[in-house]
């Protein structure tokens, strides 16, 4: 039985989705999760976002800084660095090409 759900599809593009929500504004972990969910990726799990952030950071696409907060714990913000921006642009190109191919393939006969 063929099973396609968002979680499966997301695996391949989670990096790109996380980079994309950091394009304009830096964010801390929970904030990034919220942005992704607000954008429509409601299935996404906390561990996926946290793990992806750590991995992108370790790979050199993100920088971090800590912002003290009056209430609650200090927050670690993630920001795109030049490598991250390049990656976002290249990944976006690949995705658009891929999506357009898939759209063509899946086009229902009129």
């Amino acid at each position: 039985m063929l099973s396609v759900d968002t979680t499966q599809l997301l695996k391949g593009v989670l990096d790109l989705a996380v980079l994309a929500v950091l394009r304009d504004d830096d964010g801390y972990g929970y904030d990034i999760l919220r942005r992704l969910r607000t954008a429509g990726l409601t299935e996404i799990g906390d561990a996926s976002v946290y793990g992806t952030l750590r991995r992108l950071f370790a790979a050199g696409y993100l920088t971090t800084y800590v912002v003290p907060s009056e209430e609650g714990p200090h927050r670690k913000y993630y920001a795109l660095n030049p490598a991250g921006r390049t990656q976002l642009k290249q990944g976006g190109d690949v995705w658009r090409e891929f999506a357009s191919t898939m759209n063509t393939l899946l086009r229902e006969p009129a």
Binding site: G29, Y50, P68, K76, N81
Partner: protein
């Protein structure tokens, strides 16, 4: 809550114990801090829920984390190049930071620079006030205080307002740097404008302070007037005696108005508008200014050109009191000054 966080993180870590140490450490390094954020969110939403209720059991969290471990790919070539350049610059700065710090008695140079930040805030406020004042009046002249409509008081008020605002902004951005990229870019661009303006202002001020000493006085519009200190003019004949009622005329036949009395009288012409001043400007022009002591002219008294060489020369004793001396020694010379081209 802290115990819960530590427990949850430890359980996630245990479920990932089979991973290579480096990968696991990279993954788990920030987990407690992240869980604290999640806990704070739970708290903010009314509380009550445990981490396990919100995030699922630690084992499931660990499984999800493990699923994100796919190879992220390496940065593109341009990205790598930029990244390397940035990290090289950082390494170099770190070296300088540690090496130059001790020279001025600090562990790191950055430590000292951080202390200077409030000073920069004050300077920034001043520069912005100067910039605004400059834009306000279309750039005529440039002082060191901002002036609005020529008012220094208003300028001072604006200056204080900008300095206070800059300090406020500095404290705010130091406590919490803006997380919006657009805000950050705007702040940096504004800082660049202010710095460039500041350098320009500094160069202009330096130029102006250095100006009179090296610049050609005739070329500089603001060169000092060398006759500023002249109050009156005494015209001496070749015999060294003061000529009363002398006139000074320039190459165009216009009277030379020098000194404070001449100017004063010059503008009191019968025409009212200054047309009559030509004949009023005679030197010495100040009626009550005593003649200068001239010991150096008395030493070499010479005959006037239109006098016969046999005429008596003034005795040295007359040099101390010129007015009677003029009357006694050269009675004919004083009332008839050399005819000027203007007459």
């Amino acid at each position: 809550m802290n115990v819960e966080i530590a427990q949850y993180a430890a359980q996630v870590g245990a479920a990932l114990s089979d991973l290579p140490e480096q990968a696991r450490d990279d993954l788990l390094e920030d987990l407690p801090a992240h869980l604290a954020e999640v806990a704070a969110e739970i708290e903010a939403e009314g509380g009550g829920a445990t981490l396990a209720e919100r995030l699922g059991p630690p084992s499931a969290y660990a499984a999800e984390l493990r699923a994100t471990l796919g190879h992220p790919g390496r940065p593109g070539r341009a990205g790598v190049w930029v990244g390397r350049a940035v990290s090289r610059a950082q390494v170099r700065w770190n070296g300088l930071d540690r090496r130059l710090g001790p020279v001025i008695g600090y562990e790191r140079l950055g430590e000292f620079l951080a202390l200077l930040r409030p000073a920069w805030w004050v300077v920034r406020g001043w520069l912005v006030a100067m910039l605004v004042a400059q834009l306000w009046r279309d750039g005529d002249g440039l002082g060191l205080l901002p002036r609005f409509e020529g008012s220094t008081v208003l300028g001072m008020m604006v200056l204080i307002a900008f300095v206070v605002g800059s300090i406020w902004l500095g404290r705010r951005t130091a406590a919490a740097p803006p997380t919006r990229r657009r805000e950050r870019v705007a702040l940096r661009a504004a800082t660049a404008v202010v710095v460039v303006f500041g350098l320009g202002l500094w160069a202009a001020a330096d130029d102006r302070l250095m100006g009179p000493f090296w610049q050609d006085p005739s070329a500089a519009s603001w060169a000092p007037d060398p006759y500023q200190q002249v109050n009156d003019v005494f015209v001496l004949g070749p015999d060294g005696q003061i000529i009363e009622g002398a006139r000074l005329v320039d190459q165009d036949g216009s009277p030379v108005v020098l000194g404070y009395c001449a100017q004063r009288f010059g503008w009191e012409g019968p025409g009212g508008g200054g047309r009559g001043w030509e004949w009023r400007v005679v030197y010495p022009s100040c009626p009550d200014l005593s003649a200068p002591q001239l010991p150096w002219v008395a030493a070499s008294p010479g005959p006037l050109p239109w006098q016969t060489p046999t005429g008596p020369s003034p005795s040295p004793s007359t040099s101390g009191s010129p007015s009677p001396g003029v009357a006694a020694a050269t009675p004919s010379a004083t009332p008839t000054p050399k005819p000027s081209p203007a007459s």
